[in-house]
Symmetry: C2
Subunit: 215 residues, 2 copies
């Protein structure tokens, strides 16, 4: 396992396993063992176990005597997650509109504009990356740890399904425009407008994803 800066092996293992599970690299029901992960990742059981405990807490794996069972995110989960995000992600945008600094605003602007840059190029991975970054920055700039902690795991769990959205040119273009509109409301420090636009944005994403996934 390469790259060992200041970030601990336990953290790296967590990030990697979380991404692999949420991206669908491991299938639902697949059984892993700590020993298999030891040989795959090239680290000892200690950091692996610490990562597994956190993944278990997020309910994307289950640990039993048989091994580590991959759970992932079901379509029912997806439905529930988007329903929750419709109700609280607007709050994050509203709080960000109230609290954001000029410097943070520039960081947010960059995410919006890079996404706009990649959309006509159909670079799905980078679009997805900027899309994620936009939402996560808003969680952070809301200034609420509670909102951040509630929204971040929900957002990460949509990864696999968001990827598909981004590959659709029409939805991808609309989504980028919606981000721009939310950004403008936040930049104007108009909390109610930011809240409404974010709520609509999640509702649109939900409608698209659910139609696509057939739920």
């Amino acid at each position: 396992m390469l790259e060992h800066r200041t970030i601990s092996l336990a953290e790296q293992v967590f990030d990697r396993l979380e991404t692999d599970i949420l991206s669908g690299k491991y299938a639902h029901g697949e059984v892993l063992t700590e020993l298999k992960l030891v040989s795959d990742l090239g680290v000892s059981r200690t950091p692996i176990r610490e990562a597994l405990r956190r993944l278990e807490q997020e309910h994307i794996i289950e640990i039993s005597q048989k091994g580590i069972i991959v759970i992932g995110v079901s379509k029912k989960d997806l439905k529930d997650i988007l329903e929750i995000r419709i109700r609280i992600e607007g709050l994050a945008a509203a709080e960000a509109a109230k609290n954001i600094t000029d410097e943070q605003l520039e960081e947010l602007r960059e995410a919006v504009e890079l996404q706009e840059f990649y959309v006509p190029k159909h670079d799905a991975d980078r679009i997805n990356g900027m899309d994620s970054k936009f939402h996560q920055l808003i969680y952070r700039f809301s200034g609420s740890t509670a909102l951040f902690d509630a929204l971040m795991p929900l957002h990460k769990k949509v990864l696999k399904y968001r990827k598909a959205s981004v590959e659709n040119e029409i939805r991808s273009a609309y989504s980028s425009q919606e981000h721009r509109a939310i950004f403008e409301a936040i930049a104007a420090h108009d909390a109610p407008l930011a809240e409404q636009r974010m709520r609509d944005h999640i509702a649109n994403a939900k409608a698209y994803i659910e139609e696509r996934e057939g739920v």
Copy 2:
């Protein structure tokens, strides 16, 4: 550390530390070390570290080279948490109204009635216990893992502040009545009514707590 049934030491350590931190037993800013916990709890560093990782993920501790810094729940956190719960806990009640089974309904009824039993006796600990149980059962009976995962940590983090509410006779009696009303709506499988009553209940609790805490 006594009692080692089927539940692992790591889990026991997590529960104990979480309760101690959220109840205010450890003060904000207090610094612990793994070694201190080893001697206090009588278990090795391994299960302690696994518990600490989970507590760190919940943002109620921070781990640094200086040791383990207790963070806990600030009044700002409390405000943010209740604002979130107002927006999504009604959804949990609505889903429970749709999905609850007769057997689960009886379990919920028991929590309501035991709370009603303890209120006139001013048994704060047991009232608090039944109050918590009522909400947590609804999270479970909502049938949504996402709602459960979002709401459970928020609910647990109010522990310290809820305790004070429960010691007030007037608020405690109202709260118990509100639980009864929510229960009746769920028992009637009236999702919109359950949602509205739960939202009002959280809003009332928020108003009381915030007035009391002076935020």
